[in-house]
Amino acid sequence: MKKLLAVLLTLAMLLGMVSLASADETGKVYYLNFKPEADQAWQDLAKLYTEQTGVEVKVLTAASGTYSDTLTAEMEKKDAAPTLFQIGNAEGVATWADYALKLDGTDLMNEMTTADFNLKNANGDTVAVGYCYEAYGIITNVALLQKAGHSLDEIKDFASLKAVADDIHARAAELGFDAFTSAGLDGSSSWRFSGHLTNMPLFYEFRDDGITEQPATVKGTYLNAYKNIWDLYITDSAADPAKLSGYTGGAAEDEFINGQAVFFQNGTWEFATLTEKGMKAEELTMLPIYCGVEGEENAALCAGTENCWAVNAKASEADQKATLDFLKWVVTSEEGTKMMAEQFGPIPFKSAKEPENVFFKVANEYLAAGKYVVTWAFNFTPDVDNWRAGIVSALEQYSAGTADWGEVEYAFVDGWAKCYEATH
């Protein structure tokens, strides 16, 4: 009896140890999500995955504007740090270099259709994969444009864009609408101009100089192009240029939805909101941002992403494997690809689903016609928030007439150098 008991006990212990060990081996996933709007979709997907595979997946969404702080705080939790998180640009790579696992050669990377949106560290290893891409440009209300007596074919470059916009603005009282929506410099709107719009001078300068990684300084060679388009935004609009900080992103959006303006600079992500609030897909299209650079008739939309997945290099191997498996499931399974298409639009993976967004169709048409993509050069910005804050304040002062364009140039060129120095 005693012997039997001893054997049984030993077996039980062994079984216990094995189950403990295998529990360790399955690993778990902890994703720190960036987009608050996608929180519910991620929670549902995580639950589904756990049901199907038994692997624990936890998703926490950082409050808007707090991702960096939240990630820093969460990473301090040694055993419970995120295994999956997001890096947006070169600055993020510099900050989190020690925490980002090299992803070359993983199954996940083999599923990708393009490496254009991935982020690399100083050694050229891929440390983050872009999991969706977006495009932005000048969203145009075609119906209103036609009402003003113009057509899309007229607009091929900056000169023609300006001609059309000037004309509409001059006749705004008669038409009942103006050319551009307000170029608000409130926090909810300013990123469109301190980030997205500054991409134009940055892209062209980097293209000319063959720059492929974060430079320590910029020259601002195309700042006159930036001035062209900014002047157009503030002149041919109903908004008061001296009070731009009072116009929010929501205000510009509403102006566009209510048919008060023909042009609205924004991106593919706006499609859902615009159509939900009553605009028709047939009325909408997106133009490239023309600013007076030679050869821009061949420009397509500005495409890129700030959403890249990174896996925690300091997590346990089991957790890393679990995370990579989870990601592979997300980009290959039926439910995963469906959710990604709905929440994030087109994803650069082989099994991706077609999104219904009209803007993406337009973006693809440009590409099919052989036009060049304006990639997101602004991803290289050092100390992004501070650099952009400088640009915003300079734009505000310039628009109000209390400073000249030199202030913007200073913020652009000298600001970049200072920000680079601060982060290195």
């Binding site: 929180d39 939240t70 705080a73 992103g249 929501g250």
Partner: protein, 290 residues
Amino acid sequence: MEIPMKKRITDERNTPGKKALTVFFAVISVLWMMPIVIVLYNSLKTNGAVNTQLFVLPNAETFVGFDNYINGMTFGNYPFYLSAAYSVFITLASTFLILLCTSMAAWYISRVSDTFSKVVYYLCVFSMVVPFQMVMFTLANTARDLHLDTPWTIPVVYLGFGAGLAVFMFVGFVKSIPIDIEEAAAIDGCGPLRTFFSVVLPMMKPTLISVGVLEIMWVWNDYLLPYLVLDVTKYKTIPIHIQYLQGSYGKVDLGATMALIILSLLPIVIFYLTCQKHIIKGVAAGAVKG
């Protein structure tokens, strides 16, 4: 502590000068309340109207009744009543803990007055001057290492960080309490604990109230500390909940935000209206002897 009840510096009542003052202050009072009133009626407007016409009263078009309130409370997958419950618990528990512990500490410091307690006192005063940003990360880290990151244990963190002001004010007050009563109690055979709770604490009521009000205001409206310390998937407080209303790219549902602010003001206003006399008397009496 002799502060006469209805003391007047001058005696006459209804002179024209007085009437003018009344009118003057009436006007100022209305203006004084304007910002709050604006939040109130904006919480009843549509989002678009809040964005573009902040100061216009809601009309037939823009009035949406309680929609914003409902939106704000049901947004996301975290129920608002839970945030409210956590906020209430954390505020009350922290305030209670602070008042109890720091009053005792202040009494000790004043009565014992040795080198150690003097050092502690000055450390407390210094701590009132430190900006939160300086200890933000390290505090959050320490709190998490010690497993103080749940609503049930975060009052300890608040006691630690809020001890400075409370001790400062209590010590100032205790200094003015005549020592005879405590000596009498000691002669009668009361130990320090009994002396404190039956003799000293009742006399400290005004200061307890004034410090209590300060602490309640601080903890109720605090955003950074709970956000950094608590596990936000499980525990949210009202300020955190309001912050989550912001979508990415700075899109804010302003109507719902205004609504939630009004909701978060309500308990405070009710608390204030019911205890107004005590609060004002307390703040006044408690502070002047500091």
